[in-house]
């Protein structure tokens, strides 16, 4: 048997020109979108980057699970219809309950998608590739909105599954409540679009993620009790207008219009007096105007 050592030779074939497919601008947009989703969820990063986003997702899912367990227990212990009799919160109330968590989630995570690229200068490399400023910011907006939509829909799906299975007659429950599915999908998407736009607009004004986060938390958390208290105190038409500036309530009013019910968060809001059409129009103003400002900030950006 041969005992000669086995060997190999490595050949350096030198630099090779790329002659394959170039997918152009659409591939560039998709790459920035995917990178945004990964950054928002901390995918491919260390445990610290994953901690906060997944904690928020777990918290939202946990709330939905508890709501479903309570409703299921009430139905089984109190008999059919107990949920309605006890006025337990359901799909129409969920976004009102969870909105503050979604706002804080956006405040902490969204700035990561824009601030870091500008602070570290990576934006300069994006803008010299076959990608416009509009492509970049649209892809980042789409990425974070996708994450927000998923964070909004997942607990509602858990709640729906829990309520269906908790009902003594799941088939009857599905037949009676199937319309809740398109409603929560639409309301969740509306909430995600609103929060994403405001959060990214704020992030577009600073290169420091912490500054954007603190400003957003202040905007959502502090303006809510302030406008609520002031509108109740002043009352009348002025009070109603002040209530319109409760930024947390704006997408929840839309949720109420979609479900045709008033959630616990907005039942005392004087802004309700304006009616559904004006509240939806107000929501559109607060989503589309910030989106236009955000777009204008990136549209002509050059390295």
């Amino acid at each position: 048997m041969s005992t000669e050592p086995r060997g190999g030779t490595v050949f350096d074939i030198g630099y090779q020109r790329y002659t394959g497919l170039r997918e152009g601008r659409s591939r560039g947009r998709a790459a920035v979108f995917r990178d945004g989703v990964r950054a928002a969820l901390g995918l491919g990063r260390g445990p610290r980057a994953k901690l906060l986003p997944w904690l928020f997702v777990a918290l939202l899912s946990g709330i939905a699970l508890i709501m479903a367990l309570i409703a299921g227990a009430a139905e089984r212990l109190g008999g059919p219809g107990s949920m309605e009799r006890l006025n337990l919160p359901s799909h129409a109330d969920f976004y009102g309950i969870a909105s503050i968590i979604l706002f804080v989630f956006a405040a902490i995570v969204a700035p990561e998608l824009l601030c870091r690229d500008r602070r570290e200068g990576v934006i300069n490399l994006y803008l010299v590739r076959p990608l416009s400023g509009t492509d970049y910011v649209a892809a980042r907006w789409g990425a974070f909105c996708t994450v927000m939509v998923a964070a909004a829909w997942l607990p509602q799906a858990i709640l729906f599954a829990g309520l269906s299975m908790g009902d003594p007659d799941p088939t009857a429950y599905l037949a009676a409540h199937w319309l809740d599915i398109p409603r929560f999908l639409l309301a969740g998407a509306a909430m995600a679009a609103y929060i994403t736009t405001l959060a990214l607009l704020t992030a577009s004004f600073t290169t420091r993620r912490a500054y954007a986060s603190v400003f957003l938390v202040g905007l959502f958390v502090i303006t809510t009790p302030f406008t609520a208290g002031l509108s109740q105190e002043i009352g009348g038409r002025a009070g109603q207008w002040i209530s319109m500036f409760n930024l947390t309530n704006i997408p929840v009013h839309v949720n109420d219009v979609i479900f045709g019910e008033v959630s616990e968060l907005t039942e005392d809001a004087p802004a309700r007096a304006f009616g559904g059409a004006k509240l939806v129009a107000w929501y559109l103003v607060w989503t589309l105007v910030p989106a236009a400002i955000l777009w204008s900030r990136y549209r002509r950006m050059t390295p």
């Binding site: 790329y18 170039r22 990576v122 010299v128 390295p303």
Partner: protein, 301 residues
């Protein structure tokens, strides 16, 4: 001669009252071209126009056969290495180059392969999985060059590629720039303040001053030999000057030596004879060359 990769005709760019570029015309063929100029000369504005990032006020710019302002698709065949920091600190070089290749339009699998190849060619293969926050300045410059090359562009713009590098790192980077054209076949436009870098690396230069083109052409044309000879002796300099003048040679005392007008070879015979006569020990004798720095002192080769 092949068609120019870049051609600029009567290009003017004004920012309100400030003229960044005024009626500039030049063309860039294959090879390594240096663009020189002081701060505010218009180098960055010219590069931004060529990359299609800002529109010119008037004039035309054609890059790889397409109008620079017409479409951003041409950027898929261009690379750009900025002067300033542009690397995410928390990402590895392999991940970053793969991402940048995809942003330039390459499919994911091809992007991964290209990223690995490019890191190997730029000398970062062993370090490719480390977060870039821990890289040295030289390694960061290599990644910056790598991201400009990863999608295999036809033309690459390098803005101050040796900025912040020590002498060894500077030599290595200049070697990489030369390799980019000579081995990879990618033409290069180097923007730099360092005349010696440009002189040693580039085939052609474009010189801008105050937004106007002052010189454009082969580097060899600017650094060609002058019609003078520089002479340095250890002693008897005055005697040597007198001996040269007696032979009808025009001589000037400059700094530590003598500059002799020498339009033809006969001057060397006169120098030899004068050195013998004056018994002056010769230290150095060489034909003088123009330096690129003369271009900024108003000199014309």
């Amino acid at each position: 001669m092949s068609a120019p990769l870049i051609s600029v005709s009567h290009l003017t760019k004004r920012y309100r009252e400030v003229a960044a570029l005024t009626d500039v015309s030049f063309s860039i063929p294959e090879g390594i071209t240096g663009i020189l100029g002081e701060n505010g000369a218009g180098k960055s504005t010219a590069i931004k126009i060529l990359l299609g990032l800002v529109p010119p006020t008037s004039g035309t710019a054609t890059v790889l056969g397409e109008s620079a302002t017409g479409s951003i698709a041409v950027r898929a065949r261009l690379g750009y290495m900025p002067e300033h920091d542009c690397l995410p600190s928390h990402v590895s070089a392999a991940e970053f180059l793969t991402h940048m290749a995809e942003v330039s339009g390459l499919p994911p699998r091809a992007a991964r392969t290209r990223a690995a190849d490019t890191l190997r060619h730029t000398g970062l293969f062993e370090e490719r999985y480390r977060a870039m926050g821990g890289y040295s300045t030289g390694m960061k410059q290599r990644v910056k060059l790598g991201q400009a090359l990863v999608h295999d562009p036809a033309f690459v713009f390098l803005d101050e590629p040796t900025a912040g590098l020590d002498p060894v790192g500077r030599e290595e980077m200049l070697a990489l720039v030369r390799k980019t054209h000579r081995d990879f076949g990618i033409s290069v436009l180097v923007s730099s303040h360092l005349m010696s870098d440009v002189e040693r690396t580039c085939d052609r230069i474009i010189v801008l001053q105050g937004g106007r083109l002052v010189h454009s052409g082969e580097v060899g044309h600017f650094t060609k030999e002058t019609e003078t000879v520089f002479l340095e002796v250890d002693a008897h300099r005055a005697a040597l000057v007198a001996a040269l003048e007696r032979r009808g040679v025009a001589v000037a005392v400059t700094g530590g030596g003598l500059t002799i007008e020498g339009p033809d070879e006969s001057v060397y015979d006169h120098v030899r004879d004068a050195l013998v006569e004056a018994e002056a020990p010769l230290r150095r004798m060489a034909p003088q060359r123009h330096a690129l720095t003369e271009l900024f002192r108003g000199g014309t080769p």
